[in-house]
Symmetry: C2
Subunit: 277 residues, 2 copies
DNA sequence: AAGTGGTCTAGACCACTAT
DNA sequence: TAGTGGTCTAGACCACTTA
């Protein structure tokens, strides 16, 4: 007991228990503010606060005018960051062959590297970089944001603006909601995916420029979305994002780095590692 | 304008702007409830709510009796999930050579596989598995929780309980709060790591049992901590966890799977991928 | 002693949903 | 039309920090 147990926590704990032990099934209605005040003998504030906390935890959702309901645990679609082979990756039937159509808008420009980006690309203080913003959409819904940085002089980052099915930096090699909802479908467009599937996105382009990408490093963190991100991805309140900071290396030289932002309530990242013995 | 802009959002937006554009530096005090009501001409509830939202976003922290302060962005320590070589991984000086001492408590038992675990291990309905709970601590503070599952019959999961410096399932190959709390530097605590650093944790033990681990798959998601996790990891309110679901494969057979829970406000995961051309 | 955050009460308005 | 969630007001108590 921290301070003899706030009242609203009693309510929260009780409802949470009912949800996790199955007394309240997904979709079931949760007592309203008025009902909570009566049932637990608390004030409106405590009842309100309890519902707010449960909603922030993602256990319930409020529909204004209707009530709060136990939230069906959303299926987290797999986002394969890089894949070696297809076998295993044992999700159940959560993935239908729903042919998700992934499209990508992008916008390129040159800019002065921020200290952060300069460090990641091992550039000097005021270096200029090519910056490209990507917005990926699946079935129209925004799926992922990405901002890619390259030192200038490596190659042409592409047209100033483009739209359509394209393999950007973000979805990465094995993208798509499925190991292959149509893997076939895979990422998009691009040339049909071959066995060398790793060479997608920037790696493919860099290779075409004569740059040999030898290693890809991804750093994954969770954080609160910035307002712009929350807006662009149409995130419900309380949802975190997965932020992937990815760098392509050619030997010991970073040749591209990007920040990839993914809704945490809809996706999980999958990394596969072959153990050489 | 969704519904003509709630009042508290005006306050939130204004303070957030000051924080992100540097008008309010980390550590600076944020106006109190009373000050907000005067400054913005809003009621106590709106002021209170605004502070609560900003705190939930991780932008400010409240110290009871003192006030709210702009939160210093915490340094996210790198957690190398598997590493190929050491070069690059360009964080700046964020990692001092602070010799973090990682310890691990564990508790083993046998249990009936849940449907989820049975699916992940490709077992039949009522199979029994060896379940081991791990709690990792660095400098005494809890760092990571892990629960490992193995089909029975693969080998002895170890003594019923143990404590001390040990390589569990969780910290994984490239363990530790740091690549070595000294990044460049190397590997980490534990016994001198060899070039075959991937073989740590369960992989090493499974290998010793004659099982050849060929692949490791990790699924990363972000979610709200369960109360038990929040307690065990001493998480502040509002922080998410990174949940890693890891499976070791021997050929096309899963031989171990674990759920690894990591505080999202203190760590970032690092994955490295060698591109073979 | 004054100020603060965390909690709490009692009540209210609005837009929306359900019936 | 009644009920609901989201928002909001005006106060209040307590434990705590600060001075």
């Amino acid at each position: 007991m921290a301070t003899s147990d706030p009242v609203y926590l009693r309510v929260v704990a009780d409802i949470r228990r009912q949800i996790v032990d199955g007394s309240l099934l997904p979709g079931a209605p949760v007592p309203s503010r008025a009902q909570l005040t009566r049932k637990y003998g608390v004030g409106e504030t405590a009842a309100r606060h309890a519902l707010r906390v449960l909603a922030a935890e993602g256990l319930i959702v409020g529909r204004v005018g209707s009530g709060h309901y136990v939230r069906a645990q959303p299926v987290l679609l797999p986002l394969h960051r890089w894949r070696l082979h297809d076998h295993h990756v044992p999700f159940g039937a959560d993935l239908g062959p729903e042919d998700v159509r992934v499209t990508c808008d992008r916008r390129s420009e040159t800019a002065t590297a921020t200290p952060d980006i300069a460090l990641r690309l091992r550039l000097g203080g005021c270096a200029t970089v090519a910056r490209t913003h990507y917005v990926f959409r699946g079935d129209g819904r925004p799926i992922q944001l990405a901002t890619s940085y390259e030192p200038v002089g490596l190659g042409d980052p592409g047209p100033g603006a483009g739209s359509g099915s394209a393999s950007g930096p973000g979805l990465g090699p094995g993208l798509g909601p499925g190991p292959g909802p149509g893997p076939g479908p895979g990422p998009g467009p691009g040339p049909g995916p071959g066995p060398d599937e790793h060479l997608r996105g920037p790696a493919a382009r860099l290779t075409a420029l004569g740059i040999k990408v030898t290693e890809i490093v991804e750093q994954v963190r969770t954080r609160v979305p910035q307002p712009a991100e929350s807006d662009a991805l149409a995130l419900p309140a309380g949802v975190h994002v997965l932020h992937v900071e990815r760098t392509h290396w050619a030997g010991d030289r970073p040749v591209e780095t990007s920040d990839i932002v993914i809704p945490g309530d809809r996706f999980r990242l999958i990394y596969t590692h072959a153990v050489q013995q």
